[in-house]
Symmetry: C2
Amino acid sequence: MPKELIRQLLLENPSQLDSLFADAMPADLADALASFSDEELMQLLPHISPEMLAIVVQEFDEFQANRLLSMVPTELALEIIEAMSDDDAVDMLRWLPAELKERILSALPSDSPLRNLLAYEEESSGGLMTTEYLTVRPEWTVEQALQVIRAEAEKAETIYYTYVTNRSGRLVGVLSLRELVLAPPSAQIASIMRTNPVQVTDTEDQEQVAALFRRYDLMALPVVDENGILKGIVTSDDIIDVVDEEATEDIQRMAALQPSDTPYLSASIFKLARQRFGWLLVLMISALFTGRIMLRYEELLAQVVILAVFIPMLMDTAGNAGSQASTLVIRGLALGDIQLRDWWRVVLRELAVSSLVSLGLASVNFLRILLLEKYPLEVALVVSLTLVVTVVLAKLVGSTLPILAQLVHLDPAIMAGPMITTIVDALALITYFKIGELLLDLA
Amino acid sequence: MPKELIRQLLLENPSQLDSLFADAMPADLADALASFSDEELMQLLPHISPEMLAIVVQEFDEFQANRLLSMVPTELALEIIEAMSDDDAVDMLRWLPAELKERILSALPSDSPLRNLLAYEEESSGGLMTTEYLTVRPEWTVEQALQVIRAEAEKAETIYYTYVTNRSGRLVGVLSLRELVLAPPSAQIASIMRTNPVQVTDTEDQEQVAALFRRYDLMALPVVDENGILKGIVTSDDIIDVVDEEATEDIQRMAALQPSDTPYLSASIFKLARQRFGWLLVLMISALFTGRIMLRYEELLAQVVILAVFIPMLMDTAGNAGSQASTLVIRGLALGDIQLRDWWRVVLRELAVSSLVSLGLASVNFLRILLLEKYPLEVALVVSLTLVVTVVLAKLVGSTLPILAQLVHLDPAIMAGPMITTIVDALALITYFKIGELLLDLA
């Protein structure tokens, strides 16, 4: 949507803007609007419906959303928020600066479902759900149910599933629209509904919600309170964001970053620096202890200077071997492929895999040192033996620490590359020098 | 679903199994069935409908799915495959051993849409799509369209969107069910449909498909061929798997693993070893060059042995600082938060962030060496200066290499922790020894 065209229409034929904007893809319109100045934006806004603005604002980043909602009168801001589906409206309100949020909240009707939704944790099932769904009663006939669905479909976020609740609002069953359409019109809902539908309580963590969507391939999931009263539904389009967020969080933790879901280019320099400093400091100080090990074997190093050449290689290989194992286990735990009770299977597999891998690496290394570099046999032996022992140790440490972390309710993702590297570096050096002392037969 | 109960019912009251199985959650029934022997399973199968088996088989791992479909007659296997929605049926067929797949394919009717779907790349939009969707014509009225939808809803994977195609099958518009229900019954579809719907061609990579779902918050996306003829739709529940797969692939690449989507506990030991060996070998050999640097500065190290103490700390900190930057950039590129044209913004940000972080780390380090460890001032200076230079270099290397990789159409994820560590280790050592030579004023 070219900026110049919009400017031209605004001057010459503003009424055409209405249809141009009405037909635009919201994400594209958002990109276009973001590039206009405050004054131009104010002139453009009357040509966009509140419903369209509601979608456009959701495409904006924090800064742009705040800019638009701050510049319009509170009534229009409220109208935009209310035009959103209510899970999105809640996310938007959470996002806005306190002052603007309060201004909109105070204009909100006292019975608005947004008030209840805002009370939930952002990363809980209650924080993800919408209250826009359809319910029918178990005692109704299929025909009655279909009538209600036809009349109320517009209010629902999905009509793919219809939820069956009893008089007190308890969720007692679920029906797909397909099942309803296929059933004889006179059949009773209770006789055709699926009882015990998959459901979550409203305080469940969003990671668990995503796990249910994965396990049962759901399009929507009902959310109930502790008494089984239906409170809302979570739909699969929202879970794509959750899955992205959770993966980003894990990936960041695995790289020794404080997790943050602010996009890289929107975060402030100080925020980016804070996100990195803590772990770097901790790991830097831990690595100083590894340095002490080198100091302790100073004499050995002075006698066989050639040993120093292999130190970066041994440290890096140990670190990489450990990271590989920890990464596979962390991701397996996150996706539910690995359970805590599988820990012994993981250990056995890592023993087998690391034996294969380390023997392969050590052989290449042994031949290389002996034939290409032409160092003495003892050196080749010390380095290659160290490689075998270290890779096996690294794989065991890398695979078990994430499981231990999960066991004590820490995020396994912190036991990834950087942490594992720091630990196995020390193991690698100790192994190297011990084997060196044994085999090199020094005075 | 307790195994003992099933065994008991099988002996005493097998007819009750039918309703027990019909009401079960498929994933739970799958877990139960997987634990029975072949003989018991053959006795249980007649109590489960082909529709239920179709869902259960999709919950199985490769081994179990193959076991069940191999043991039943080809007609039942075909019935089970045909009861699946066709995108799932195609995935299942791709999964099966060649012999079983051929057996089922040869029994498949020659006009089955599965034959066309199988021709697509597994990780393309065509490989993800289903052909079970509803179309209406632009010249129909809303009332006509709703009649068709009611009659054919059962065949569609989603009825949330209705696609509008012309006589030759070209996609010309889209309508949500909500819009249809709200429109006057006599209105013409062409007058209310949204034209130019978001769409993909059938050969597009699944990563791009996921990007569209993210950008436009879609529940379903139409797939067209090169002539714009509607071929199928992709639904958001399938995108959850894609997002998981793509994140897993990135996470594995970032840890120097050959990507694989076989769950950790299902992969063979050899497969796990192969997945790890290649990169470990490449990185091991590269790290040997870093070792050469130490050899070149052998004399300096011999004169100021204390310098060796800080080598692991400098290498680890540089590696971690580089990994942090590369991780943020890789994830930003994957989610579309960072575009190639933003490279200079990334460089500027990393310069600013790394200056802040490195000054912080170097200060802590300087004071620590001087006050706690009581080493000479020159040593504290050399180590701290090296830290500043190395962290800045590491952040620049870490942030730009993924962008360069993307530029030459490599996966940015290979430019993560392990690769960056190998490169910045060498930079860290060279910096350290150069600064050491300059400041320590040796003979």
